[in-house]
Subunit: 124 residues, 2 copies
């Protein structure tokens, strides 16, 4: 599969796909004789995985480290798991923080709504 097709399917700019590969977020993609990328299904699975992780803010470094270990083989399974566990923890904490902010936002909005209601009362 060509890079433009992968770009379309996963809605990721071709430049970003190349950038991800350069940074090691995806194992190296095979090239045709003329040097063009030819994505396999496995490559696509990586792209999908990385897209999901990046959408939640998982850092480039952590993902590159994970892929590096993956490429090294089965001896790195424990280390890879540890990376995922760490990211899970980070993400859980982030969500917790955001729920707090969300609660504050909701309270403020309610406050604005009651202010508006009071203003309307005074008009009557």
């Amino acid at each position: 599969m060509k890079i433009s097709e992968v770009s379309k399917i996963y809605d990721i700019p071709v430049d970003t796909l190349r950038y991800y590969e350069k940074e090691g977020l995806i194992p190296t993609v095979n090239r045709s004789q003329s040097g063009r990328r030819d994505y396999t299904q496995e490559d696509c699975n990586w792209v999908e995985f990385i897209k999901c992780m990046r959408s939640a803010g998982v850092q480039i470094d952590a993902l590159a480290q994970y892929v590096k270990l993956f490429v090294q083989g089965d001896d790195t399974i424990e280390q890879r798991k540890n990376i995922l566990v760490e990211q899970r923890k980070k993400l859980e904490e982030k969500i917790k923080e955001q729920r707090k902010t969300l609660a504050l936002l909701k309270a403020k909005i309610e406050n604005y709504e009651s202010v508006v209601l009071d203003a309307e009362k005074n008009l009557k």
Copy 2:
């Protein structure tokens, strides 16, 4: 209150406090005759609010816009509310996205755990 005290209380670097003020995330803080910042309780409330919003990734622009409207007075109540509503929506979507990623992470981790278990079985 001096900037160093505010910095300590809210655990925000003094440089960041000055930066936030410069960018309009906090209404201008009063100065002493010698030009030094003297934070009131209200200023501190702003700092706390901004800290919470920033911790959830609410953008500088949106917060600056909110403060700008606040300073303009009561005619901007509706607009201010709209900013908060928009940010609430963004945050809800972000949390939703992250929960998806969290689910994927958890599934992967479980998978690694069963791989490790299987490996142990083979050792027996």
